[in-house]
């Protein structure tokens, strides 16, 4: 059942030594990272492989939409989406690679810190698509061409409009500590969700752990994925969410569900979800083709329009009716710091919230 692939020793040899990556790749040179175009040869090779395995933490229906649009454009290449929380994706890959199982082709994670770790471990293959090379801002692509920001969004507050009147809705994180919200708040978990891990880092840096300790007194409902609080609001299960994906809220609101977005006055945590290809990918050509497609204006506009995400591709247009990205006060992202602190954040969070 397992794909024949490189032995563990091969992998160790490659670890840390970027140049060794060239030995693994076939068609596209990995040592340098010039832009790679989608050539007929690449499409042909990808079709021969016939499938691509995409590990992602983006909300499942959206991930499947991207997959289906790719399959429509390149018939004969099936995308299999493996969706779970970013921290679980990370754990899964480390568990699989630890057992010498190389199942993943392309990865997308909502915890940008993971890419620092994977890069350090020498797991990633350098690959820069034409769109990334030409259009993406420097701060949204790795200097060595190993990953780039597939999607960007915010972690925000929200409420159910049937249960909360607009004038009574919280305006800030501090407002959530009001006793009137006891038992009415839903919140996602940094041990599962990369979005919440990233957000928890930014919030403890900017507004302090003190906030979380007080929030824990509010009898919150603890869920796992940052895609879940918006869905719990739509169900009417809780009135307010303390954190969750902005993009799910756009989707639900535009589908007519009774939910509303609040950009907290302290600033909204900024979340970046890069894409990368694994060096030991079982379907290397399909992986490259799929990754190139992910950064194309077509796919980027799709994740904006139907997904509610923000795109760093300058040719995409924001959807009317949504608050423009530029006008929102955001917290500063710092993946390197998240990578250093993630263990401590998980431990401290578990201590405070008991789960």
């Amino acid at each position: 059942m397992r794909k024949p692939t490189f032995s563990r020793r091969d992998l160790l040899k490659g670890t840390g030594a970027l140049a060794a990556g060239a030995a693994f790749s076939t068609r596209v040179s990995a040592a340098a990272t010039p832009a790679s175009a989608i050539t007929p040869a690449l499409i042909e090779a990808a079709k021969k492989e016939g499938k691509v395995i995409y590990y992602t933490s983006v909300d499942l229906p959206l991930a499947e939409k991207v997959a289906k649009s790719f399959e429509a454009k390149y018939p004969g290449i099936a995308v299999r989406v493996e969706r779970t929380g970013a921290e679980r994706v990370f754990q899964r890959i480390s568990q699989e690679y630890g057992s010498n199982i190389h199942a993943v082709d392309v990865v997308n994670s909502s915890d940008a810190a993971h890419f620092i770790v994977w890069k350090r471990q020498g797991f990633l293959a350098p690959y820069v698509s034409e769109d990334v090379a030409k259009f993406y801002p420097a701060e949204h692509k790795d200097v060595d061409g190993q990953f780039a920001s597939f999607r960007v969004w915010l972690c925000i507050i929200g409420y159910n409009t049937d249960l909360v009147k607009a004038e009574q809705a919280p305006k800030s994180f501090a407002d959530l500590l009001d006793p009137k919200w006891v038992g009415k708040i839903v919140k996602a978990h940094p041990g599962y969700s990369g979005t919440i891990m990233t957000a928890t880092f930014q919030m403890q840096r900017d507004i302090g752990w003190d906030y979380f300790e007080k929030l824990a007194q509010q009898k919150i409902m603890q869920v796992q994925s940052s895609a879940d609080p918006p869905k719990k609001l739509a169900l009417g299960e809780r009135a307010v969410m303390a954190d969750g994906n902005e993009y799910n809220m756009f989707q639900l609101k535009e589908a007519g569900r009774h939910v509303e977005i609040v950009y907290p006055t302290e600033g909204s945590p900024l979340i970046i979800g890069p894409n990368a290809i694994f060096k030991a990918a079982p379907n290397p050509n399909a992986a490259r083709l799929f990754n190139s497609y992910c950064f194309s204006p077509e796919a980027q506009q799709l994740i904006v329009d139907t997904g509610g995400l923000r795109s760093m591709h300058p040719s995409t247009k924001e959807k009317a009716g949504r608050t423009p990205f530029k006008s929102i006060k955001v917290m500063k992202d710092d993946a390197a710091a998240v990578e250093k602190l993630s263990e401590e954040i998980k431990t401290r969070y578990t201590k405070i919230f008991k789960v």
Binding site: S94, V104, H189, Q222
Partner: protein
């Protein structure tokens, strides 16, 4: 005739009796299956990262509240679930087996339906029903009483809620044990009591209840163990409620960075407690197997309920609302409603979820395929394995047969998640690198299902007299030939029942699978669990209903295989 026998005897040395090597082979397989993972568990629990011997893992386990609180929560859940299961299942079992209550057979089938329902699916369905704000039952409550939005009748995200849901899907075990015991209780003993002037209640108290007490005690124990080792329901309900149980804690220790040594240490108390309880049961029950005393007794006497017949049926149906009717109604509602918490109407009916699961969700096909492959192979191999071991122990065929029987029963003491941890530690290193293949899941499911399969078939063997086999062997057949040609056909009903039982068990299994799956070897239960974490309730409902349909279809199909008898679906024996 004598010539025939003599030629057979002469031919005998030529036909080598391979039964011994085969049986020793089975013993070796069992030892590898069970002893290997348990040894690694033990090794990990007493070593640190560098491999040095330490008791630090256990010290942390019993000193940190992060571990002690789950231990206490688990104990409360298991004890109360066991109590409620007995309180509900015992009277119901009695009504079905010993009274003239109408449609008792239908009640048995419905109890089977609740057994076939995976506990994690039941937990999700009860979220839909009894989440404090969006739960359908709470909505009805508010609509009827006019209570404000803040008030709710039920809160499933609580200790009480978890105990309730766990009981819903554990009580079939107790019910089946009690009902089967009552089915076998000889009517003559009760008649004797009546003839000697015992009133109905006196007879029940002095004759019937003592006769079923062993079964009830065994049921209480099984319910306790099930509740203690359950992973799915607590993982779905306890985390939103803000606490851990032992099983969810063990699972969380596998999150990044994984701490297998702590998980192994946390798994050992579960294992020891299970072994202790099984020993305790053995000591209490001792040789008290009243109901299997031989001789030909009449069928048990049915008690006439009179005007209480219909209220009794109503009571049973009200009980069955909880594990069967309400949850499936909620799943059906969520499958077709635009929002899982909205009531389905003709105007809001949508096929969106069906479309999503069938045409968009790329993991569906693979997970379905893996589950069906694993279900059928586990059921087939498990039944054969159990059949051989049951034969050997029932016929005392080789020296050391007791050991074989013990090995086949031993996994009952290993909770699924503990086994998962043990197997992960064993099969991610040479000489057996099985992690990432379906083999490791097959081994896990086989090990989990072996004890109950073995017990069912052993009971079946006891009912078949060895003289038939002896006749076959005198005529020159080897043990294996006799087994295949004589005994197997006589056992077919039990074999089919066992096969179905194991198959259903695989469909229900989540706790070992959640530790052992990879993206290529995902099963339906894990897929549902993943979908739950991101709140995709509509998709879960569709998959859950599909899963139930597949389970029933396979069970019916297997029962219809030409040449095999039809088993009473309600009489699955644990």
């Amino acid at each position: 005739m004598s010539a025939l026998i003599s030629t057979a005897v002469e031919r005998r040395p030529a036909a080598i009796d391979i039964s011994r090597p085969v049986l020793y082979g089975f013993a070796a397989v069992l030892i590898v299956l069970i002893v290997l993972p348990m040894s690694w568990l033990l090794v990990y629990s007493v070593t640190d990262r560098t491999g040095a011997l330490t008791l630090d893992n256990f010290f942390r386990l019993f000193s940190e509240s992060a571990f002690l609180d789950p231990l206490i929560a688990t104990f409360i859940i298991a004890t109360s679930s066991s109590f409620f299961c007995c309180a509900v299942a015992a009277p119901m079992g009695w009504l079905v087996a010993r009274t003239d209550m109408p449609v008792g057979g239908v009640i048995r089938v419905l109890v089977t339906a609740s057994f076939v329902t995976p506990p994690f699916l039941g937990a999700i369905a009860w979220e839909l029903l009894a989440a404090p704000n969006s739960g359908l039952l709470n909505k009805i409550f508010r609509a009827v009483t006019g209570a404000p939005q803040e008030e709710s009748l039920f809160n499933i995200y609580s200790l009480g809620g978890i105990i309730f849901v766990v009981s819903c899907y554990t009580f079939p075990y107790v019910f089946v044990l009690v009902a089967n015991a009552l089915d076998r209780t000889p009517g003559e003993l009760e008649d004797a009591s009546s003839i000697l002037g015992g009133k109905r209640w006196y007879t029940a108290r002095r004759i019937t209840i003592p006769l079923v007490l062993p079964a009830l005690l065994a049921g209480a124990l099984v319910a306790f163990l099930q509740a203690m080792t359950l992973f799915g329901s607590p993982a779905i309900l306890a985390l939103p409620a803000g606490f851990h149980t032992m099983t969810t804690k063990i699972w969380s220790l596998f999150q990044y960075p994984p701490k297998p040594e702590l998980a192994a240490a946390a798994a050992l108390p579960l294992l020891l407690l299970t072994i202790f309880l099984l020993r305790a049961e053995h000591m209490i029950l001792g040789r008290r197997g009243y109901s299997v005393v031989g001789g030909k007794y009449g069928a048990p006497r049915l008690i006439a309920l009179g005007r209480w017949r219909w209220p009794a049926l109503a009571l049973c149906l009200v009980v069955l609302l909880n594990p069967v009717f309400l949850p499936y109604a909620a799943l059906f509602n969520a499958a077709f409603a635009p929002v899982a918490s909205h009531f389905l109407t003709f105007s809001n009916f949508t096929l969106h979820n069906i479309e999503f699961v069938l045409f968009e969700l790329s993991a569906t096909k693979l997970a379905l395929r893996n589950t069906v492959i694993l279900g059928t192979t586990t059921a087939t191999i498990g039944t054969v394995l159990a059949l051989v071991i049951a034969y050997v122990t029932a016929r005392k065929a080789v020296p050391g047969y007791r050991m074989l029987g013990f090995l086949a029963t031993a996994p009952i003491a290993i909770p699924g998640i503990v086994l998962g941890v043990g197997l992960f530690l064993s099969y991610t290193r040479p000489p057996f690198i099985l992690y990432g293949t379906l083999w490791i899941l097959l081994i896990a499911f086989l090990t989990i299902s072996l004890p109950s399969a073995y017990q069912q078939l052993q009971a079946a063997f006891r009912n078949i007299h060895p003289e038939l086999e002896d006749a076959s062997r005198i005529l020159g057949a080897t043990r294996l030939q006799a087994l295949r040609q004589i005994t197997a056909p006589l056992l077919r009903t039990s074999v089919i029942a066992t096969w179905c039982f194991v198959f259903v068990g695989v469909m229900r299994e989540l706790s070992a699978a959640i530790i052992l799956f990879t993206s290529e070897t995902k099963v339906i239960s894990v897929l549902i669990f993943d979908l739950n974490e991101s709140g995709d309730l509509g998709a879960i409902s569709v998959i859950g209903i599909a899963m139930l349909v597949i389970t029933f279809a396979v069970v019916i199909l297997v029962n219809r295989i030409p040449g095999f008898g039809v088993v009473g679906a309600g009489r699955l024996r644990t």
